[in-house]
Amino acid sequence: MSLAGGADDGALARRAADGDSEAFAELVRRHQGRVYSIALRMTGREEDALDAAQDAFVSAYRKLSSFRGDSAFTTWLHRVTVNATYDLLRKRARAPEPVADVPETAGISHEEDPAGRMAEQLEVREALALVPEDYRAVLVLRDMEDLPIEEVAEILGLPVGTVKSRCHRARVALGRILAGETERGRASEASEGTTKP
């Protein structure tokens, strides 16, 4: 491992801002997983997630001098990531699509009813694609990435109370879709009805 391996994020960010490309590469290696994960869950497409992750790190690289260290580097980076992902979604001007492939992941057990479990996960991803971006961002950061509510608030630039309320409303919206209480049910009824007599 390089010398950069032992330094903390803040020190690496300062070195990267001064032009140390190995320091920046180390930051990428450390944090690309979470950045890609946020992007994938926000966009629902692997191809878009890859673009968004690249955009996020390009943006972070350009903005390194504005990282003031009064927030954790990860919080700052996640904010840049959410920003890049919103931009990408705007560019695509389309809602995300559910991820088709469930990646093989160590430590996750599917031994009981694996098919049912996969179906459930796909359903959650499909439902997530139906909630508005701003709700989706809170759900991804809070309930999928498991970040503390205070960090979610800082990433989104919102008061904690607002994020808590939004988190609840977002969960309710998603829960209703999962329960078939809202448009999911109507959507399937509507599509079944397209070939009506």
């Binding site: 997983g33 890859l50 690249q54 990282f67 705007r90 809602a95 701003d134 999928m144 989104l156 809202t182």
Partner: protein, 261 residues
């Protein structure tokens, strides 16, 4: 007690102290809406927790570093927006970002109402709207308490609730808005309501509402924005209704209704 949405998030997470939990449980014992919401929220939270972690694709580091290498080394001046306000990228002179901004200028258009009324009669949403009492909302301008002024529909005596905004969304999906948008002109008032919705609901700011309404929601003065939102590739478009407080622009509610494309 109004509906304690912020406490309900902590309640569902099991993060409330003894006293607050007792308060919330007392509220839940009498409030059917919050009880149903908590059940929905738990379903969502459990569902989200069941999704396995994402594994980054092989070669991601190289892809990212390659993209960074292709960027000219031009540090921006410190960007205040990174820590202040909404995480939205401001326009920058760089060519490729300009192209992104241009591609992003989605104009939904205020005339979509015409398209809606022409096509929606075959959708499930349309029949839902009628079944769900869309007729109540289908009253044309001049219906009880409904007036339009300067691009905003004023419904001073109309108190919306969750069911009410769902009916509104269904009615909009059926092309039956309280006032046809074509009769509403852009104005400072409409811009103020749009700005509050954009701020409160964290919209991008380039959405074109098909209806703006001032009324009350659960007794609180509220601004309602009805939007038509594109669907995923070939999928149905959606009618989305955001409700924000007229006082501080905080989000009071949200609902959506799919349109069949």
């Amino acid at each position: 007690m109004t509906h304690p949405d912020d406490l309900l998030a902590d309640y569902v997470d099991g993060d409330l102290g003894e006293r607050e939990r007792a308060e919330v449980e007392a509220h839940l014992a009498t409030c059917e809406r919050c009880g149903a919401d908590v059940r929905s929220a738990r379903l969502a939270r459990d569902g989200l927790a069941s999704v396995p972690p994402v594994e980054a694709p092989a070669g991601l580091t190289e892809e990212i570093l390659g993209a960074v290498d292709r960027e000219p080394r031009t540090h921006e001046a410190p960007v205040v927006e990174v820590f202040g306000g909404r995480p939205r990228k401001s326009s920058r002179p760089t060519a490729w970002l300009g192209a992104v901004a241009a591609a992003a200028a989605i104009v939904i258009g205020v005339f979509v109402f015409n398209g809606l009324s022409g096509s929606s009669s075959q959708t499930g949403a349309a029949s839902d709207a009628r079944a769900a009492g869309g007729a109540e909302l289908a009253a044309p301008a001049g219906g009880s308490g409904t007036t339009s002024a300067n691009g905003v529909v004023l419904q001073p005596g109309h108190d919306y609730d969750e069911a009410g905004i769902e009916r509104l969304a269904a009615a909009a999906a059926a092309g039956r808005l309280p006032v046809p948008q074509t009769s509403l002109a852009p104005s400072d008032e409409a811009a103020a309501v749009t700005s509050c919705l954009t701020k409160g609901a964290q919209l991008r700011g380039d959405e074109q509402p098909i209806e703006l309404i001032q009324a009350t929601f659960d007794g609180k003065p509220a601004d309602l924005g009805v939007y038509r939102v594109p669907g995923s590739n070939g999928g149905p478009e959606r009618i989305v209704v955001w409700v924000v407080s007229s006082r501080d622009c905080s989000v009071l509610s949200f609902t959506q209704h799919l349109l069949q494309s």
